[in-house]
Structure formats: C-alpha cells, structure tokens
C-alpha cells in the first residue's frame, strides 16, 4: 500500500489522510487530476502537432479559410458540460456530508482570538494551540471568535470553516479522526500581524490514552459544572427558575427542542440560539414572556458563554433520557445537586475579572479594539 502510494507519487502530493472525510476529498481530487491531465495532454498534443505540421513554410503563404463546424461546437460545449455536472454533483455530495453534523458527535468548544486557538473540553480541560482528541470518535467543533474573522483549518482532516464574529452564530464543523498522530492546526483567514503564528497541533490519541489524558489535569470541574456556577454568578438563576415560576422561561429540558417565539415563529434551541439570547436578548423573545433580559455582551467571555451553553445542554432532555450521549455528558451531575456549583469558579487567563457582580452597572471590561495598539 505504501509502495503503491509512493509509486503514484501521492505521498508528496497529498497530506496525511487522518479523517474519515479526507479520503473522500482526495478521491475527487485524484479524479479531477486525472481528468484535467487527460484534457491538458489532449489539447497540448493537438496544439503541438498543429504547430509543427502547419508551420509557415513561406512568408507569402496564405492558407484557405476553414469553415466552422456546428458538430464540433456542440460536442465541445455539451461534453464538458456533462463532465462539469458530474464534478459538481460529486463535490456537492462531499460538502453536504461535511455540513450534516452527526447527532452523536461530542463537542469541543473553540475560541479564536488574535492570535491563538483556545479549546475547552466538556470534561473541563482547557488548552491553547494544542488540542487532544480521541481517534474514531465524531467531534463537533463549536467555534466563536473574540475579534476578527479567523478560519479553523486542519489539513490532515481536510476541514476548514471560517469563525465569523457576531452575536447570533457559532461556526461548526465536524471530523472523525482515523489515525493517531499529531497534525497541524492553521488559521486560514488572514487576521492581522501574527496570522502565521496562529497555528497549533491536534494530537489524535487512542481512546485509552485520551481517557488517561482527560483525567490528568481536570481539577476545575467540567464545563457544565462551571457553567452552573456562572449561571448563579451572573444571576441567571433568579429569573430562569428551575420550577418555571420565574419571569423568564425555565431552561431545564429545553436544549435541542423547538420553541415558539413572539409572532409565532419557531426556533430550534441550539448553541447559536442560546448564545444570541445571552448577547442579544431582545432579538428573539419566547412567546408569553417580557423582553426584560439585559445583554451580557462584554460581561460574559466567549469561553464563559460556552460553559453556560454546556450547562444548559447538560440539563437538556438528552441528559435525562440518554446518559452517555456524547463523551462528557454522562458524567454531569443533575443541576442543583452538584456540589461543585457551590464552589467559586476558577478561571484561567483573565476570565475571573470579566464576571460583573449581579446588579452592578455594566462595566466595559471588554478589551478595546486594537486599532490604537
């Protein structure tokens, strides 16, 4: 197999195929390479043959004109058209596969900022520019940016997705690694001075090593646990009461369900909707409730938002119905009974200072744009 690859020259023209998606992309790529080489050789050979055969033999030579040919014109319009359609369909199929995120994927939360990648595992591990994932598991990357547009790119997985700023969306992309090893993470969208320094490594481990790695350094509680803390810190719990008696909708059992908005529109409660509701609460009001929630823009950091989402997800219907769906969720205790919720949260890298006490006016603690740096 390796020999075959070497003879075909693929080892220098293809990066490692480290995800289930990679061979699909490479197969289409090699099909295109073959097709285009065929046509390039065909046309070049025709040109070179004419170039020699019909070279000018005398400066006063004037050849007879040749009339056009409807048959030929039709042929070289229709044939490329059908070949193109085939390429389009194949490419589209791969793309749709990539954009249909499987339900059983486990989440890794990603925050991009100038110029680093920050990762959070549901189990609580946090990494910068380093990412550890298990082999053979479907991983969904839920991504937000703190500043400009970045693009999350792992060549060995053949995945790439822009991370676009904005209150109402997460960028998501998924992959399933098929081999252990260490592969590049790049930022593929130009993001300023150290764009080329915004790189990292993804380490794919087999499941045993991954579990060992997970248990290595997670003293701070899982994301959901920390989210539960934040839920109290930010005072969310005073309105979003778990018995439904508050002024705001109760959040238990809501994640992944459909909600009716004012005006009758329906919306799926997913990560993006929760994020939008925290940052831009007035945008989509649940039917029957008053628009009284303040925005937490500038108060909750991107990572804290992801913890809150992980918490709301952990109290969703999936957690109750099917423990074990998703790698981390099985370990999450039911809300309210979690002893960790009483602990003050321990935040790394400036997180703690971003929590404004409840009731205090909003402080513009968010770092100013760096245009004056």
């Amino acid at each position: 197999m390796m020999l075959g690859k070497f003879i075909l020259g693929m080892s220098w023209m293809l990066p490692e195929q480290a995800s289930t998606y990679a061979p699909e992309v490479d197969n289409l790529y090699l099909f295109l390479v073959g097709t285009t080489i065929f046509f390039t050789v065909l046309i070049s050979a025709a040109i070179l043959y004419f170039f020699v055969k019909f070279r000018r033999r005398s400066e006063s030579e004037v050849p007879r004109p040749v009339a056009g040919s409807m048959v030929l014109e039709t042929a070289w319009t229709v044939i490329p058209f059908f070949i193109s359609i085939g390429m389009f369909a194949w490419g589209a199929k791969i793309y749709l596969d990539q954009y249909t995120i499987p339900n059983d994927a486990q989440d890794i939360y990603v925050v991009a900022k100038q110029w680093m990648w920050k990762f959070q595992h549901p189990e609580g591990q946090r990494e910068i520019n380093e990412l550890h994932i298990p082999v053979g598991k479907k991983i969904r990357f839920v991504m937000a940016t703190e500043d400009v547009i970045h693009s999350f790119y792992i060549p060995a997985f053949r995945i790439k997705e822009d991370v676009v700023p904005g209150p109402n969306r997460y960028s998501t992309v998924w992959a399933e690694a098929t081999m252990t090893g260490t592969f590049h993470i790049f930022c593929a969208e130009y993001c300023g001075t150290s764009h080329s320094g915004m790189i990292g490594w993804v380490t794919v481990m087999d499941d045993k090593d991954y579990q060992a790695w997970l248990s290595g350094g997670a003293a701070q509680g899982s994301m959901a646990e920390r989210g539960a803390n934040l839920f109290q810190q930010f005072g969310c719990i005073t309105c979003h009461k778990s018995d439904g008696s508050g002024q705001c909708p109760k959040l238990e059992g809501k994640y992944g369900t459909m909600e009716t908005l004012q005006g009758g529109e329906k919306v799926l409660i997913d990560d993006s909707y929760i994020r939008e509701s925290i940052l831009s609460p007035l945008a989509k009001i649940v039917a029957g409730y008053q628009p009284i929630m303040p925005s937490f823009q500038g108060q909750a950091s991107e990572e804290q938002l992801q913890m809150l989402i992980a918490y709301i997800k952990s109290i969703g219907p999936a957690a109750a119905a099917a423990p074990g769906a998703g790698g981390g969720s099985s370990k999450i205790s039911p809300p309210g009974m979690n002893p960790a919720a009483q602990r003050p949260p321990i935040m790394s890298t400036g997180g703690a200072s971003m929590i404004a006490p409840v009731g205090q006016p909003a402080q513009p603690v968010q770092a100013p744009p760096q245009s004056q740096k």
Partner: protein, 570 residues
C-alpha cells in the same frame, strides 16, 4: 476587396523631421501629450504609467518570494503583511484591470472599427487623470507605512483592527474605479455608434468583442466596488455598523459586496486578454478564427455568468449550504464558455500557416497556462475540494495561472503584435523569443509548486511557515527570479527598440484587420480616408494585395511561392 493605400507620402501627408506625419510627431512637447485628446496618445500615457505600476508590483512580488525562502521569514510579519498587500493592490487595481483595456483597447479599438477616435475623447483623457489621481493615493498609502489588510479588505479587520493606511488605499481604489468606468463607457458607446461603413457586428475583430464584454462588466460591477469601499471607509471612520457585528452588522455582507465586484473583476482582467489571443492566433496563423460567433458570444456569456458566481469565494464563510450549492453549479457553468474558446483557438491552428514569431509564442503560452488556470478552477469550484484548498496556496497558484498566465501573457503578446504599430519600430525578434521562453519556464516553476503546497495545506498570507514546506517554496522563489529576469529582458529591449529597432512596415505580419491598413505609426486621424469594410473578420487578402498594403514578406526565408499542399483542401 477594397484596399486602402497606406503609404503616407503617396497620400501627400506632410513630413516632420524627415518622417511622415503621424500621431507621434503631430505636436511636440509635454503639453501636447498631457492635454491630448488623441486616443493613441492617451494609450501611450497609460502604457507608461501602468507599466511603471507593473514594475512596482513585480518588485513587491519578488520581496514576498524572498521572504518565503526561509520558514521563519526574512522580514518581520508586519513588513511581510504590507508587502503582499501592496503586491495585491498594485497588481490588481493599478495594473491588471487597466492593462489591456486602457493601453491596447484605447489604442486599437477605434482603429479596428475604422473610427477616428473614441466617442468621448475628453472623457478618455479625464479617465487617465483619474487613474493618476487614484494611483497617487495608492502610492501614498504604500509609501506612508503601507496597508496590512490584504487586497480584499475583509471586515472587521480592515475597519476596526488594522492600524495601517486603509483609508488612503480605499480612496485610491475608489477613484481608479471611476477611471475604468469612464473607459468602459467610452468603449461601449464607441462600438455602438462609431463603426465604419460596412463594419457590422459580426465583422468586428474578436478583440473588439472582448473589449465590449469587458466594458459591460466594468460598467455594472465597478460602482458596487465604489459603494462597498465607501461604506467600508465610513465604517472605519465613524463605526457605521453595517459590517460590524458589535453593532448588529454582518461582516459577511462585506464579503458578498466585495466579491460581487471582485469576481467579475477577474473577467475584467482576462476577457480583454482573450480578445488579444484571438487576434494573435488568427493573425499569426493567417487563419480565420474557428467558430467566430461562438468565440464572440462566449465572451458575452462569460461576462453575464461572471456576475452570478461571486459566492464561490464564500464556501467556508458560514454562508448557507444551499447558496454554496447554487454558486458551485454556476461556477461550473462559467467554465463552459472558457472551454469553448480554448477548443476554438486550437481548431483555428488547423491547416493554418503558423508563424514562430513572438506574438504566436505568447498566444500559445496563453493557451497552455490558461488551460491549467482554468482547469484548476474546476477543482476550486468543487465544494468538497474547495473547503480544503480555499485560502491556501492552491488558490494562489490557480489565480496566478489565470491572471499572470492569462492576462499578462495576453497583454505581452498583444504588445509584441502591435508594438510596431504603436511605436513605428519593431522589437528584436531573437531577444523577444528568448524572453518569452524564459518567462514561460520561470512562470511554471514559480506557480506549479504552489498547487502542491496548497493541497498539502500551506495557508496563504503566512509570513512564516512549517519547515516541511520549504523545498517547494524555494523552488517557487527560484522560478520567480527567472520570471523576473525574463520580464527585465522584455522591458529592456522594448525601450531599446524605440531608438534602435527596425522600422515597422504598415503590416509587418501579413495580418488582417483595419489596424494593418494604415501606416505604422498611424496618423492622428487614424486613416487617410474613411475605410469602407467589405470583407469578413479574419479574411486574409491574397499575398499580392497584402504587399500593396505594406506587408514586406521576408526574402531571407523564402521567396518561392509555396506549394499549398496543406492549404488547398478543406
């Protein structure tokens, strides 16, 4: 077939300094040039300024390539970011967009249709001054510290984060945009209203069709760039919020508006070059272009479809999956007219009388490189592959094959074909062939490794990169230096030939087309008498008539009338 006598002396043209009166010596001094309304002189003004920007952009390109010799970069990241941005802005806005239309189009379009000038000569001059004004802003932006956003100016980086001269560059691009709008306006109106008697639409040279299609795109796309750049500038000055998510705006809207211009802009760059190539292939093989109407109409088809595919730059930008599918499909649709052109050019060679002179070499060089550039377009239009290769060197290589391999080859081929017509002097053939071959080799060595780099995952706009990519980068830089030497040779012999070149006859190639039926260089009025067109496009006169028309032949190669064994049967 009606002939137009072209010997200016015979026609009783006055003489200036022992030479017949032509547009070049009809008026002396700087004033007569800077206030000229003659389209040919304006073309020369454009030639000087646009070529200067080409050299500047080329120097930036070499600096970029030098930086990439080492995985850690030679310059610091800030400098590198400014270098590639300057390279992009200068090459796209100040060289590629104006190159073929403003130089060759300005000079040739009126002559080719048998007109005395463009429809609006004053507006034509105004467009050059706007170009100069915009270019000045662009230069100031670059000299006074540079711009570090990339030529695409993506928000919110360009509006809220970059602390470089984004505004100055934006103003420059805005003004240059209006310069091309004025040129486009002139071309459209001239083609409609000023064709000589008998010059019907389907007798127009394909160069004119190319310019006409380009002008359509310029007129409809450039104003969108103007308003996009204006909104971006407003956003930067006053935080309008239209592109800023912090205020409810959407940065992806900027990308849509930017590419609504910038994708058609690719066709602004390559369509006129395709027009040139039709002339090169036909005239240098003395054959009518195979499937003339298909080639002409494919230009229009490209112009129309070119407007519908901008979203293929946004496959990974979180735009809707369905939009992605539509744009991918339409991108394949736009590949068809390009394919039609290539097939027809190839078929044109069949049973032709193919000259090995430089313009033909450039014509074939164009086909070869555009073939690769166009075919790799099929890769990036495929959604699944684009996710992997977008924003990598694969895309860099793809659009350099289209723009350098396509537009630049076409432009240089046209310059060689019409150099004698424009200046009255021929370039040295030997050096030109050598330079062309050097450029072709250098070009491929520069950009072919970048396809491989890109598929291996090397992202674009990286000042430093992982060491495993170094070998390919070094190859690429080596190619760039060869390409640079080739360009340098061309520039040197063009300048050299102005004084020392052989005098160009009226029709050095034995070519067809109205521009060959007037003297080299043409008189200010273009023709000594208004031409009346009674022949089809690319209908080559018998050799005796050509000689009357100023074709010298070449006694050194062959004087024998040729047994036309391959030209007689159809």
């Amino acid at each position: 077939m009606s002939l137009i006598a072209v010997d200016p002396i015979e026609m009783g043209a006055p003489q200036v300094d022992g030479e017949p009166l032509s547009y070049l010596n009809d008026g002396h001094g700087l004033r007569s040039w800077l206030l000229t309304k003659d389209h040919k002189r304006i073309a020369i003004l454009y030639l000087i300024t646009v070529s200067t920007f080409f050299v500047i952009g080329g120097i930036f390109a070499l600096l970029v390539r030098i930086n990439l010799l080492s995985p850690n970069g030679v310059f610091d990241a800030d400098t590198y970011n400014r270098l590639f941005t300057a390279h992009g802005i200068v090459m796209v806005f100040f060289f590629l967009v104006p190159a073929v239309p403003a130089i060759l189009g300005n000079f040739l379009l009126p002559i080719m249709i048998g007109a005395k000038d463009l429809a609006f000569p004053k507006i034509n001059l105004l467009s050059w001054y706007m170009y100069m004004l915009g270019a000045t802003f662009g230069l100031i932006a670059i000299i006074a510290g540079g711009v570090d956003t990339g030529w695409t100016f993506y928000t919110p980086y360009s509006t809220s984060y970059s602390n470089s001269n984004v505004l100055l560059a934006g103003i420059g691009i805005f003004i240059v945009g209006f310069s091309s709008i004025l040129t486009g306006l002139n071309f459209i109106v001239t083609t409609h209203t000023m064709r000589a008697p008998g010059m019907t639409w389907f007798r127009l040279p394909l160069f004119v069709w190319g310019q006409y299609a380009t002008a359509l795109v310029i007129m409809l796309a450039t104003p969108v760039l103007a308003i996009t750049v204006s909104l971006m500038a407003l956003e930067r000055i006053a935080h309008v919020g239209i592109f800023d998510p912090a205020m409810g705006g959407d940065p992806v809207l900027f990308q849509h508006m930017f590419w609504f211009y910038s994708h058609p802009a690719v066709y602004i760059m390559v369509l006129p070059a395709m027009g040139v190539v039709s002339e090169l292939i036909a005239n240098m093989s003395r054959k009518n272009v195979f499937g003339y109407k298909f080639v002409a109409m494919s230009s229009l088809a490209i112009a129309v479809f070119g407007f519908l595919v901008w979203g293929h730059h946004l496959f990974v930008s979180t735009q809707s999956v369905y939009l992605g599918l539509i744009f991918s499909f339409l991108s394949y649709a736009v590949a068809i007219p390009s394919a039609i052109k290539v097939f027809n050019w190839t078929a044109t060679l069949y049973k032709g009388s193919i000259s090995y002179d430089t313009p033909m070499l450039y014509g074939l060089g164009f086909i070869g490189l555009f073939l690769i550039g166009g075919m790799t377009g099929l890769y990036v239009a495929a959604l699944g592959i684009d996710v992997h290769v977008t924003d990598t060197y694969f895309v860099i290589a793809h659009f350099h094959y289209v723009m350098v391999g396509g537009s630049l080859m076409g432009f240089l081929g046209g310059m060689h074909l019409w150099w004698g017509k424009m200046t009255g002097r021929q370039y040295p053939e030997y050096w030109a062939r050598a330079a062309m071959v050097i450029q072709f080799v250098g070009f491929n060595l520069t950009f072919f490794p970048q396809f491989i780099l890109g598929y291996l995952g090397m992202p674009r706009r990286y000042a430093a990169y992982p060491p495993e990519f170094q070998v390919l980068h070094v190859l690429s830089t080596a190619g760039a230096s060869i390409l640079g030497i080739g360009m340098l040779i061309t520039i040197v012999y063009f300048i050299w030939s102005l004084k020392n070149g052989k005098r160009a006859p009226a029709n050095p190639w034995g070519a067809s087309g109205l521009e060959w039926r007037t003297s080299s260089p043409p008189p200010t009025e273009n023709f000594y008498e208004t031409p009346i067109v009674t022949w089809e496009a690319y209908e080559f006169a018998p050799i005796e008539s050509m000689q009357v028309l100023g074709y010298p032949g070449d006694s050194s190669r062959s004087t024998q009338p040729v047994p036309k064994e391959h030209g007689t049967e159809d």
